[in-house]
Symmetry: C2
Subunit: 148 residues, 2 copies
DNA sequence: GTAATTGCAAAGGATTTGCTCTGGT
DNA sequence: ACCAGAGCAAATCCTTTGCAATTAC
């Protein structure tokens, strides 16, 4: 039971170095060449078909990693799969505004940008822009916050 | 191999009869008394804690059934669970508008209303209302749809 | 009595983990 | 050589299915 040498939380920034493997290149290429959302399984199947065999585990690991680093957008499909797509460059924030005192809180609808992109594309709309505005009364401005 | 008698798609309205079981009542009560989204597992745990033991399978079955009949709203959590909540009465539509010719297409951001409710509640905002506006150029109004 | 329903046990499907081997630098 | 990364096998988690026992009507 040697528990001494286990500095598991070695978060040294840009520590030793990240390695550019063949698998990473292939994945990067696939992600980059698609504008739509794909699941790890999708990519796995695609690669098998294409001849190149990369382990499912690796795909899962890399996609998750990339998403965590903010390099990929992701969302859940209705069937339960996690779908990934290259990051939408834009991405701005939206706000929750109190119509009483003007207090503003920054909010981020999960997957909204992606959804908007997709719906727009499905309907053949281009050069998109959007606005989300949620207004309400904050705690201080709300008459009498009995229940809730 | 008797495939004859299988009228599986027996959609006869109020056909033979649906049975009101103890389990269904309990579930209805639980769903009705909560304003937030809960997973089958959540409800299962809740019931165990409360003493009443209803099978997980039954909970899954009923929730899915109710959702299919439109009696429940549902969404996927980030962790992959399906969350259910009693139907929101309100619910209005939003639009995708072409700023060139004004063409309007009705759209429905999946889970947006629920999300807005939740974020608002989390930030202690009440008496909420919101607007979503996506504008763009439809196929006819877009200069030259080269790529995309 | 009879079909609808329950719920255990087991199957399924997505994703993660343990761990050893491989390959990048 | 050294360690990040690959990937097989097995484990997890949520959900569905098979099916015998139960129960509402």
């Amino acid at each position: 039971m040697d528990i001494s040498a286990k500095t598991k939380d070695d978060q040294s920034p840009t520590a030793g170095g990240e390695r550019l493997t063949k698998q990473k290149k292939v994945l990067a290429q696939i992600i980059d060449s698609s504008d739509s959302f794909q699941s790890a399984q999708d990519i796995f199947a695609l690669l098998r078909a294409r001849g190149e065999n990369i382990g499912l585990t690796t795909i899962y690991t890399q996609l998750k990693l990339l998403a965590a680093q903010g390099g990929l957008d992701f969302m859940k499909s209705e069937s339960g799969e996690t779908l990934y797509r290259k990051c939408s460059t834009a991405r701005h924030h939206h706000h929750l505004v109190c119509r009483g005192c003007g207090t503003t809180i920054e909010i981020e609808p999960p997957g909204f940008e992606e959804w908007a992109d997709r719906v727009s594309k499905e309907n053949h709309f281009y050069d998109i822009s959007h606005v989300i505005e949620i207004t309400g009364l904050c705690e201080k401005c709300f008459p009498r916050h009995s229940k809730y």
